[in-house]
Every structure is written in structure tokens, then in C-alpha cells.
């Protein structure tokens, strides 16, 4: 009976909140796996060829406990894939898109609840396929997360490990696209009365635009994956050329176009939800309306529109013609401007606010800092002539980790800390959160700053042993310090793990439905814990998401209005404030 109810409440439930939590746990488990793989990489770069402590003997007995060149390639390939497709996307988009969006727009569930649950279980299937690839006799995928052919075909990577991983990506794509269609439909069709487009919270905007990108571009990756599988198993030669091609063969560069038409939007897919979350949190914790909100939304739309037009900057040295190279350079540099608008609006929201440094705000400030560093160094890479030197070096790796790893990572934690009380009716400890935040921020900057310095000094990426090159030998100390910072970063995550365990084990119950004192519907119209179907009655939305005004303090004893609150009926306690 109890087992039965556990099963129906947590496993087969179609409630968007339960599905959101499922995504969260599934993503966090893979985040830990991806992090572990990153530590192996950093070990090898710091102590090339040395036995990996603790786990080496168990994992790599045939190479005496050390990584071999082949294993190193498998580790960076799967680290990248796991992080992007099986960890960050499920946490940021799967968990918070699901949990937050219906609540923020005043809907009772997603538009297609059963499809929603199905998307999650398809994701799990893809995660299991990815894990299964490790069992293949020749091991898992090893052609880089980009899987460029001909290396990723049988010419360079025989064995079914690579195929199963590509299949896992294909299945993962189905999950993402179905989830995206669902979210888009939900936002278009299920907004509560009065919830106009500019009254949508920024988080919802971010999730909505990201879903549009997912639905548009993930199928392109799917097509590339499918053609690659055909090349591997049915003897086609879409992407095979050179000595292994028969009768002319195909074109490896065609794959790169398909991959990056998806691959560049992918970084915006990961960052748009982060931008949304940060825009909301910065306003909430500065107790001021989001500065120039329509412009922020417009800039997010502009980035979404431009994101499919800049992908060529990944191929500057692959042989684009001069005209194409210059066109992609111009578009790439242009996209920096709406991104800067968004960041400047955050600063001006904080400016003259009444800033509360609660944990969600700390993480959001962290996002602003690492996004600033990552975004501005991206401008250098957008320049064709500088990219000719920096392309495929650790500079690129440091740059994209500041955005894809640091900004999305910190934004995930901002979201977890912000919505935790609503999700689980429990409170996280603020001191532990502060310690986790500050150590993570500093260490992220050291790790990825260190990688950028290595790249600036010329170190190519994906090298099992960089010190084969004379000119890279002096970089060993730098790489060691970078690795020490990475190990410390991994250790610091225990603070978060402990915080979550502690919250469930003996943390305070959160009974206040609106502990942060903000006006969006999930806090002002839904009780904690949120029941199935969310709202007793569907809210009638009156205003935008960031209705802060210190002048209200005199009459109401608080500085904000709920999104669905009627001013005539507003009382100090009328929006769930205790």
C-alpha cells in the first residue's frame, strides 16, 4: 500500500512538479558523474601518466591505474556530453522549466501532462544508453563531444560504444524536443487571464525562448546523428572522404555545418534560462522593478533570433571562404550587443536598490561576474584573425566553461536555492549556502581563468600529454595549480550535498508560502507545499512580475504587490505573507 502510493506519487505521476523534481535528481546524479570525469582530466593534465589516486587501480587496471591516451579521449568526450545533455539541460530546463513555468503563468499543469512524464522517461532511457556505451568492448565514444567525422566514423572509432552514444544523443533529442513543444504550448495557451506577454516573469521568458531554440535546432543535431549512424553501420558515406572513401565519398565539413547549426544555439539554450532566472532574482532581491524590462526581453528575443546565424565562428579555420568568414564574424560581434544590454540592465536594477544578499542573490551575482568574463572573452574569439591563433586551444575551453559551466552552474544553484522552499517545503541553511557559493565562485574563476591562461600561452585542447611539446613544458606549474583549484572545487560541492541532506534530515520545515516576499504567482497564489493542480482558483493577473515600491511600506507594511492582487483589497497578509 505504502509502496503503491510511493510508486504512484513519485514514479508515474504526471504532475509537473513531480516531473520537475525527477528531472532535478536525474540531472544532479549526472552532474556528479560529469564532475568526476572532469577531475580525471585535471589529474592527467597535472600529473601526466601518474596513477590516479583512490580509483585508478579499480578503473584502469590495464594501464597500471593511470589514464591512457585512449581513455583520456573517452573521458573528455563523455565529460562534455554528460555535462551538456544529461546534466545541465535536465537541471536547468527540465527541472525548473517544469516546476516553475506552469506556476508562474497561473496554469494547473503543463499542456500535455502525460507527454511531459514521457519526456522525462525518454531522458532516462538516453542516460541509460549513455551509461551502456561504457560497457562496449572497445569502450565508449572518444571522438570529442563534437564527434567530427571521419574520426567519429568507423575510420577512426570502431566498436559499438561510439554508436550507442550517438544513439543516446538521438534519444535525448526526442526528449528535449517533446519537452520543448510542451513548454511552448503551455506558455502560449495556458497563461492565466491577464498574463500578457510583458507580464511574464523573466524565468518563463528564458524557458520559453530556450524551448523555441530546442525545437528548432535539436532536430538538426538529430539529422547529423542519424546520418552519422548510417555512415557507421549501413555503408553510406555522407561524411567520409579521403583514403577511406569509395567512389568520391562525401564531405566531412557538411557534418560540421549541421553540428554547429545546432551547437551554437545550444550555448544559448543553456544560457537563456540562466538569464531569465538572474533577471528575476536580481529584481526580487534588490527590491526594485527589473530595469528596462521590455528591453531585457527584447534583447533575449534578439539573441534567440541571432543565435542560429553565428555558428560559422566555430569553423573559421575549417575552410570557410573569406566572405563567409567575415559575415559570420560580423554577426558574432553583433550578438555581443544584446547580451551586453541584458547585463547592463542587471547592474542598473541593482543600482539604487535595497539589496539583500540572500543565497539566491549571491548565486545570481556570481552568474553576472562569470558571465561577464566569459562573454567578454568571447568577443576576442569572434574576431577572425585572433581566432586563428586561439581556436582549439585551452583559451576556448576556459571561455566556454565560464559560460556553459560556470554561469549555468551558478544559475542552477540560484534556482535551487530560490525555489527550494516551494519545491520541498524545507529550508536550506544560509551559512552553508554562503560557504558553498563563495568557494565555488572563487574556484570556478581560478580553474577556468587558469585554462584561459594556458590557451593564451598556446596550449591546444584535448591533449593527453601537452608536455610532449617543448613550448608547453613550462606550463606544468600553471596546469597543476589549475588542477588543485579544480579538486578544491569538487570538494566544495560537498557543502551543497550536505546542505540538501541536512534539509531533509533535520532542516526546518518551511510553512511560509512566500518567504522571499515577492509578487510572482508561485509565491503569492499557491500554498506550500503546492497541491496537485496548483491553485484553488485560477489567478486573475493584474500587473507585471516585479511590482516593487518602497512607498507601499507605509500603507501595507510591505514593499511589493502580488501579480494577481487587487490594490483595493490589498492587505498586509493578503498575498501569503505572514
Amino acid at each position: 500500500m505504502i509502496a503503491g502510493s510511493f510508486f504512484s506519487r513519485y514514479i508515474v505521476s504526471t504532475d509537473h512538479k513531480t516531473v520537475g523534481k525527477q528531472y532535478l535528481w536525474a540531472g544532479l546524479v549526472f552532474l556528479a558523474l560529469g564532475g568526476f570525469l572532469a577531475m580525471l582530466l585535471r589529474w592527467q593534465l597535472a600529473f601526466p601518466g601518474a596513477r590516479v589516486p583512490l580509483v585508478g587501480g579499480l578503473l584502469f587496471p590495464e594501464s597500471g591505474g593511470a589514464l591512457s591516451p585512449d581513455v583520456y579521449a573517452k573521458v573528455f568526450t563523455t565529460h562534455g556530453l554528460v555535462m551538456i545533455f544529461f546534466a545541465i539541460t535536465p537541471v536547468l530546463i527540465g527541472a525548473f522549466g517544469n516546476f516553475v513555468v506552469p506556476l508562474q503563468i497561473g496554469a494547473r499543469d503543463m499542456a500535455f501532462p502525460r507527454l511531459n512524464a514521457a519526456s522525462f522517461w525518454i531522458l532516462v532511457a538516453s542516460q541509460l544508453l549513455a551509461l551502456a556505451s561504457f560497457l562496449a568492448p572497445l569502450g565508449t565514444a572518444s571522438a570529442g563531444w563534437t564527434s567530427y567525422p571521419p574520426l567519429s566514423t568507423n575510420v577512426g572509432t570502431p566498436g559499438w560504444g561510439q554508436s550507442v552514444m550517438v544513439l543516446a544523443l538521438l534519444v535525448n533529442g526526442f526528449s528535449t524536443v517533446l519537452g520543448g513543444v510542451n513548454l511552448i504550448t503551455t506558455v502560449i495557451r495556458l497563461r492565466a487571464p491577464g498574463m500578457g506577454w510583458l507580464r511574464l516573469p523573466a524565468t518563463t521568458w528564458g524557458m520559453f525562448l530556450t524551448s523555441i531554440l530546442n525545437v528548432t535546432f535539436v532536430p538538426v543535431l538529430g539529422s547529423a546523428a542519424l546520418l552519422l549512424l548510417l555512415d557507421r553501420h549501413l555503408g553510406t558515406q555522407f561524411f567520409i572522404a579521403g583514403a577511406s572513401a569509395r567512389a568520391g565519398g562525401g564531405d566531412p565539413i557538411a557534418y560540421q555545418h549541421l553540428f554547429w547549426i545546432f551547437g551554437h544555439p545550444e550555448v544559448y539554450i543553456l544560457i537563456l534560462p540562466a538569464w531569465g532566472v538572474v533577471t528575476d532574482i536580481v529584481s526580487f532581491f534588490s527590491r526594485k522593478p527589473a530595469f528596462a524590462y521590455p528591453l531585457t526581453v527584447g534583447a533575449m528575443i534578439a539573441v534567440t533570433a541571432l543565435s542560429g546565424l553565428v555558428y560559422g565562428h566555430h569553423m573559421f579555420v575549417a575552410g570557410l571562404g573569406p566572405m563567409l568568414g567575415q559575415a559570420f564574424m560580423a554577426l558574432t560581434l553583433v550578438i555581443s550587443i544584446p547580451s551586453a544590454v541584458i547585463a547592463l540592465n542587471w547592474l542598473q536594477t541593482i543600482w539604487r536598490g535595497s539589496v539583500r544578499l540572500d543565497s539566491p542573490m549571491l548565486y545570481a551575482l556570481g552568474v553576472i561576474i562569470v558571465f561577464g568574463m566569459g562573454g567578454l572573452t568571447g568577443v576576442l574569439l569572434g574576431d577572425l584573425s585572433l581566432d586563428v591563433y586561439l581556436h582549439d586551444t585551452m583559451f576556448v575551453v576556459g571561455h566556454f566553461h565560464l559560460i556553459m559551466a560556470s554561469a549555468t552552474f551558478l544559475a542552477s544553484f540560484a534556482a535551487i536555492h530560490f525555489w527550494f522552499p516551494k519545491l520541498f517545503a524545507r529550508r536550506l541553511d544560509e551559512n552553508l549556502a554562503r560557504a558553498h557559493f563563495s568557494s565555488s565562485l572563487v574556484l570556478l574563476i581560478l580553474v577556468f581563468g587558469g585554462q584561459m591562461l594556458a590557451g593564451y600561452s598556446g596550449q591546444p585542447r584535448r591533449l593527453f600529454d601537452p608536455y610532449q611539446y617543448e613550448f608547453l613544458k613550462p606550463l606544468l606549474p600553471l596546469n597543476r595549480w589549475t588542477s588543485y583549484a579544480a579538486f578544491a572545487l569538487a570538494t566544495a560541492q560537498l557543502l551543497f550535498v550536505w546542505n540538501v541532506v541536512r534539509a531533509f534530515w533535520r532542516g526546518a520545515r518551511e510553512t511560509d508560502p512566500n518567504p522571499w516576499r515577492v509578487g510572482t504567482l508561485e509565491w503569492t497564489c499557491a500554498p506550500t507545499p503546492v497541491p496537485v493542480e496548483n491553485f484553488a482558483e485560477v489567478p486573475q493577473v493584474q500587473r507585471g512580475p516585479h511590482a516593487f515600491d518602497a512607498a507601499l511600506q507605509a500603507s501595507l507594511g510591505r514593499d511589493f504587490l502580488g501579480q494577481a492582487e487587487l490594490v483595493s483589497e490589498a492587505k498586509p497578509q493578503s498575498v501569503g505573507v505572514k
Binding site: D70, A73, A143, L151, A241, G242, A243, G250, P252, I253, S286, R287, K288, F291, A292, Y293, P294, L295, V317, G319, P322, G325, A330, L333, I337, A343, L344, L347, I350, W351, R352, G353, S354, V355, L357, G372, T377, V379, L380, G382, D383, L384, S385, L386, V388, H391, D392, Y456, S457, F464, Y469, E470, F471, P474, L475, L476, P477, L478, A550, A551
Partner: protein, 251 residues
């Protein structure tokens, strides 16, 4: 060079030094923007904390939106514009103006074939035609004269590789089925490393080569001697040695 080993590789071409200037200017500009914004943020956090009453603002007026857009355009527009113009003015257009460079006097042409995990270089030899008995070939080593424009045609046999010479700040993928081109002019004699910058299999990290920049007279001697040796050792039946392709300008 410093305790951590951080620093640009030596620069050995007319483009490298110029590119370093642009790199440093751009780094300086974006760092200044970053630090400026960080300072504003810190001031706001210190001065406008919990005790400060939030200013009454409607959040979105046309004036504010124009201001934000204007500042963004001002800050990044300048950096972006400068970088764009710089890239267009790239003096030799290492990746772009190959046909132009081919007309320069004294140009040195090299065919470079990448494969797992080595670089095969070929010079046309005394007769100036690729694929003949007097071609000079060389493994994992390219010799070029100081001060002369060099054109490299790049191909790959098996998977994608990437020809990266840090001291030239130059990189170009070698793609199976295609012939890619790069040009450079070395200005410093000495030996510089060639790296493979594109993942090309397990020994990617070992695909190391050397670029030797020598004086024009040493180069002439080296080439003549190589050509001579090649002619004498030529074996018409050795099919695997016949990998040359017709030089692009001749096609």
C-alpha cells in the same frame, strides 16, 4: 615567461607580432569594461544594501531603454568595430588572400599532407613542378627561408587534422577530400614547433612537427641537395611515395 610559465610563444612571422598587439589591445579593452562594471556593482552592493531604501522607479521608460541600449552599443560597438576592421585589414590575409599571395615574387610553395600521426611535406624541387622525380619530401619537418612568403597547401588522408604553428599564430584544418591553404612569412630564424590542433585519434598529442626557418642561402642549398638526392633515389614503382597533387595555381 614567469613562474607559472604563462606567456605567448615566441613570435616568428610578420603577422604574429601584429596579432599580439591586437590581442593585447582587445584584452585590455574588455578587461577595462569588465572592471568598470564590476566597480559599479561593488559600489551598488556597498551603498545600496538592505538599509538603503530602494529608489522608486517604474522600471521601464523609453529613456531608460535608450540609455541601456546606447551604453551597450557604445562600449561593445567600439570594441566590436575595431576588431572587425582589424580582421578585414589583416595584411597578408593568412587564410583568405591565397591567390594574391601566390603572385608574390620569391614565393615558396609546400604541399603538406597530414595523416595519423605525422606531417608529410613536399617541395616541387628544381623543376618547380609537384609530382616529379626531383620533389623534395620531408617528414614532420618544414624548412622555409626567412623573409620569403610561404604558401602551404594542406590535405589529409584519414581524419581531420589541424596545422598549428604557435610561433606564427597560424592554424588551418587539414580536411580529407579537400585542399586547404595558408600563407605566412617567417621573419626569425630558428626552430619552432608544429602542433596538431584537431583531435585526430589516440596519438593526437604526439603529432608534433618542426618548422625550421633558415637564411635564404641555406634554404637554397638545402633544397638543391634534397632535389639531387630525390632524383637519384627516385623509384617509379614506389606508389606510396606518389601522393602529390597538382598545385592550385596550375589547376
Amino acid at each position: 615567461m614567469n613562474a607559472l610559465g604563462v606567456g605567448l610563444p615566441p613570435d616568428a612571422s610578420i603577422d604574429a607580432g601584429r596579432l599580439d598587439v591586437v590581442l593585447h589591445d582587445a584584452l585590455f579593452a574588455v578587461s577595462a569594461i569588465f572592471l568598470g562594471c564590476l566597480a559599479v556593482l561593488l559600489v551598488a552592493l556597498v551603498r545600496h544594501g538592505r538599509r538603503h531604501t530602494a529608489a522608486a522607479e517604474s522600471g521601464a521608460t523609453a529613456g531608460k531603454m535608450l540609455r541601456s541600449a546606447g551604453v551597450a552599443l557604445g562600449l561593445l560597438g567600439i570594441v566590436d568595430g575595431a576588431l572587425f576592421v582589424n580582421a578585414l585589414r589583416h595584411p597578408t590575409g593568412a587564410l583568405a588572400d591565397f591567390a594574391e599571395a601566390d603572385k608574390l615574387p620569391g614565393v615558396v610553395r609546400i604541399e603538406l599532407n597530414a595523416h595519423q600521426w605525422a606531417w608529410d611535406a613536399r617541395y616541387a624541387g628544381a623543376d618547380g613542378v609537384f609530382g616529379t622525380a626531383d620533389d623534395v619530401t620531408s617528414l614532420n619537418r618544414i624548412v622555409v627561408p626567412e623573409g620569403a612568403p610561404v604558401l602551404v597547401e594542406l590535405a589529409a588522408t584519414d581524419v581531420i587534422h589541424s596545422f598549428f604553428v604557435p610561433a606564427l599564430r597560424l592554424k588551418r584544418d587539414a580536411v580529407p577530400g579537400r585542399i586547404g591553404t595558408v600563407s605566412f612569412t617567417a621573419t626569425t630564424t630558428g626552430t619552432f614547433e608544429i602542433a596538431c590542433a584537431q583531435l585526430c585519434g589516440v596519438n593526437h598529442y604526439k603529432m608534433r612537427g618542426e618548422l625550421e626557418v633558415v637564411s635564404p642561402s641555406e634554404y637554397a642549398t638545402w633544397l638543391a641537395r634534397g632535389s639531387d638526392l630525390a632524383t637519384r633515389g627516385y623509384d617509379p614503382d614506389d606508389k606510396s611515395a606518389h601522393w602529390a597533387w597538382p598545385w592550385m595555381a596550375a589547376r
